[in-house]
């Protein structure tokens, strides 16, 4: 049992625990800067997914669930909805579908900030990637392990094959 062994390893646990915060921060940073520098929603989502995976391996499914503590299906749904709204919205407003808008607004502390619906789309991508990885990891992690022996060739053929 690989997972069981890793869970009992204190070094892994400490490393994972501390690196989590860093990973989250990096992910957000990569997500938001993505439009100008290397990065974007996809990679950011994958980073969070990696964090969830590590958390899951180190502390079990419950701990992994605690990162973005929303049921994964809603993560997926809201991510898709966010991205989709930037696709459908312009069409409903009489422009070409998926025509992104951008502009500059002045904020008190940050000064002039460039906004773009493209970033909303990217956040949607981020949420979907996180949601997918979370669904997959949690489902697999919660599945019972059945140890099955290696099979002889004849046996494999039968299970693979059906001839009518």
């Amino acid at each position: 049992m690989v997972r069981a062994r890793i869970e009992q390893n204190p070094i892994v646990r400490v490393v994972v625990h501390t690196s989590l915060y860093g990973l989250k921060l990096v992910a957000i940073w990569i997500l938001l800067r993505g439009h100008h520098e290397p990065g974007g929603g996809f990679i950011a989502g994958l980073l969070i997914a990696a964090a969830i995976a590590m958390q899951g391996v180190a502390f079990g499914a419950d701990a992994a669930q605690a990162i973005f503590p929303i049921p994964p299906a809603y993560l997926l749904g809201s991510g898709l909805l966010l991205s989709f709204s930037t696709v459908l919205g312009p069409a409903l407003m009489g422009r070409a579908f998926m025509e992104h808008s951008a502009g500059v607004i002045g904020l008190p502390l940050f000064g002039d900030v460039v906004w773009s619906t493209a970033v909303l789309f990217d956040i949607g991508v981020f949420l979907v990637v996180v949601g997918t990885m979370k669904t997959v990891l949690l489902t697999i992690a919660s599945d019972r392990v059945q140890v099955r022996p290696a099979q002889g060739e004849q046996d494999t053929s039968d299970s693979e094959r059906e001839v009518s």
Binding site: G77, S78, L80, L81, V87, A91, E162, S164
Partner: protein, 494 residues
């Protein structure tokens, strides 16, 4: 420039997303499914009517100029396919309400169904070869989900073959796109077609065409790539099988017809003759598979292959009448095949089985079911005055006019075997002494399960009796397909 061409796709995406968010509320998901499938019919008819009156509809995502953005392009062929997809979705949804086990229905069934339809509609609407790849991916993963829904042993075993063989095809798709992009530096199909026309018969483009032939032949279950279909479709849950059988492989056929009437048209002596041979072998081997079976659903599954051969026959002939026949045939096939799978489902709801070993003699107790099947089945075999007859006859006439005697003879022989296997189902399932178990259900339930098939049969009859209108539309569609310049100009010309 209107978004109309995008709406059938966006409708399916939006419906799926809402249903995903409402995944705990099955009743609301059902209501959404019903409303959305009806809206889909309205939108696709509206789109097709617009194309009919004012030409090919083009819109680019984000409003980017052609050929840089992703262009959605719908000609009559696309419009017709979207209508058919919407109609079949509607009847399937009606049937699904009756015949889908509760646990499966609760497990994200509806969202994935609509994502799959989004992929299907996107395939028909897109004018961008890479976007077509994306649409195929959406379809593939969703169809795998639906195929394996229920997670039973044989489903997983055959589903894996389906997934793997189709993933191989997808990889080849990517390779083919890479080659085509490398040669033409474009992903926009109209742009590529325009460039291909500048250097007609360029061997690199023909080579890319061969790869696309493989890709779409694999998706459309043509010889020698159909291996995944017969067994995997057999295990698709009854509620979704009609949709799979009628729509999914037709997307591959659509792809073949699209690229081999738009882009790869300059070496038709090689490509289209090859398609004719492939079409002939497909229809022959498919029907041979069908007559070797003794199971309602298995016979129907093999017939899908056989009938795809007819469609490719029309493409291979590459004349206006041939393509019109193919278009007519596709429309006929989607309606009728869907109906037959619905009837297979309705029958196994009564008998609990599709294998003829386990039941017979339903005619006496369920005459409505038996005769709906009989009429739909002979329509499939091409017996007049149903839709199948005119479709087959148009293809036969096109073959005779072109002097393609081999394929003409094969198509007649296949018709014969098709009738034989349809009669076999009728004899084994409905004729004979009543035997086997009967699952008791009330009459209302029986009628509700039967009515979607009756709707489709009525459509087949209408497409036969109104054959003149249907043929006029098919000829206009074929005319557009045979003149790629119309398509290119609609996209590039502004």
């Amino acid at each position: 420039m209107s978004n109309l061409v995008a709406y059938p796709v966006l409708l399916c995406f939006g419906t799926g997303i809402l249903q995903l968010l409402l995944h705990k509320r099955v009743v609301l998901q059902r209501a959404l499914a019903l409303l959305s499938s009806m809206a889909g019919i309205v939108l696709s008819v509206l789109l097709t009517y617009t194309i009919w009156t004012s030409g090919i509809q083009v819109q680019t995502a984000g409003g980017w100029p052609v050929p840089f953005g992703i262009t959605l392009t719908a000609d009559l062929f696309s419009g017709l396919m979207m209508i058919l997809a919407a109609v079949v979705l509607f009847t399937s949804v009606l049937y699904i309400f009756k015949d889908m086990d509760a646990a499966s229905e609760r497990t994200f069934f509806y969202p994935v169904l609509f994502f799959m339809m989004a992929g299907v509609n996107l395939s028909f609407a897109t004018g961008d070869i890479f976007n077509l790849y994306v649409a195929f991916e959406v379809m593939l993963i969703s169809s795998y989900f639906l195929m394996a829904l229920g997670s039973k042993g044989p489903q997983l075993r055959e589903g894996l073959k389906y997934l793997l063989l189709n993933t191989v095809a997808s990889s080849i798709f990517l390779v083919a796109v890479a080659l085509l992009y490398g040669v033409t530096s474009s992903l926009n199909m109209a742009d590529i077609a325009a460039k291909a026309a500048m250097d007609p018969g360029n061997p690199y483009i023909t080579l890319a065409g061969m790869l696309f032939m493989v890709v779409f032949a694999a998706k459309g279950a043509l010889f020698p790539f159909y291996w995944w279909l017969p067994r995997s479709y057999y295990y698709v849950p009854n509620g979704i099988a009609p949709l799979f059988a009628s729509m999914l492989t037709k997307v591959g056929v659509y792809g073949l017809i699209r690229v081999f009437t738009l882009i790869f048209v300059h070496d038709s002596g090689l490509t289209h003759s090859l398609l004719l041979v492939i079409g002939g072998l497909t229809m022959l081997l498919g029907v041979i598979g069908a007559i070797s079976q003794y199971d309602f659903k298995a016979i129907l599954s093999y017939h899908i292959i056989s009938q795809i051969g007819y469609m490719i026959m029309g493409l291979g002939l590459y004349t206006v009448l041939g393509l019109a026949g193919a278009v007519y045939y596709i429309a006929h096939h989607i309606i009728v095949k869907s109906g037959l799978f619905l009837l297979s489902g309705a029958t196994s709801r009564i008998t609990g089985n599709t294998d003829f070993k386990h039941y017979s003699g339903l005619l006496a107790s369920h005459p409505g079911l038996a005769f709906t099947f009989f009429a739909t089945a002979i329509s499939l075999a091409g017996v007049p005055p149903f839709s199948g007859f005119f479709a087959k006859f148009a293809l036969l006439k096109a073959a005779v006019e072109k002097g393609a005697w081999g394929i003409a003879a094969v198509s007649l022989v296949v018709s014969f075997f098709t009738l034989f296997s349809m009669i076999k189902i009728f004899r084994k399932a409905y004729w004979g002494r009543p035997s086997g178990q009967r699952i008791q259900r009330d009459r209302k339930d029986y009628i509700a399960a039967l009515s979607p098939a009756v709707i489709l049969l009525a459509l087949s009859v209408a497409m036969g009796l109104g054959g003149g209108y249907m043929m006029e539309f098919a000829l206009a569609t074929a005319d557009q397909l045979m003149n790629p310049a119309i398509y290119i100009e609609a996209v590039m010309g502004r």
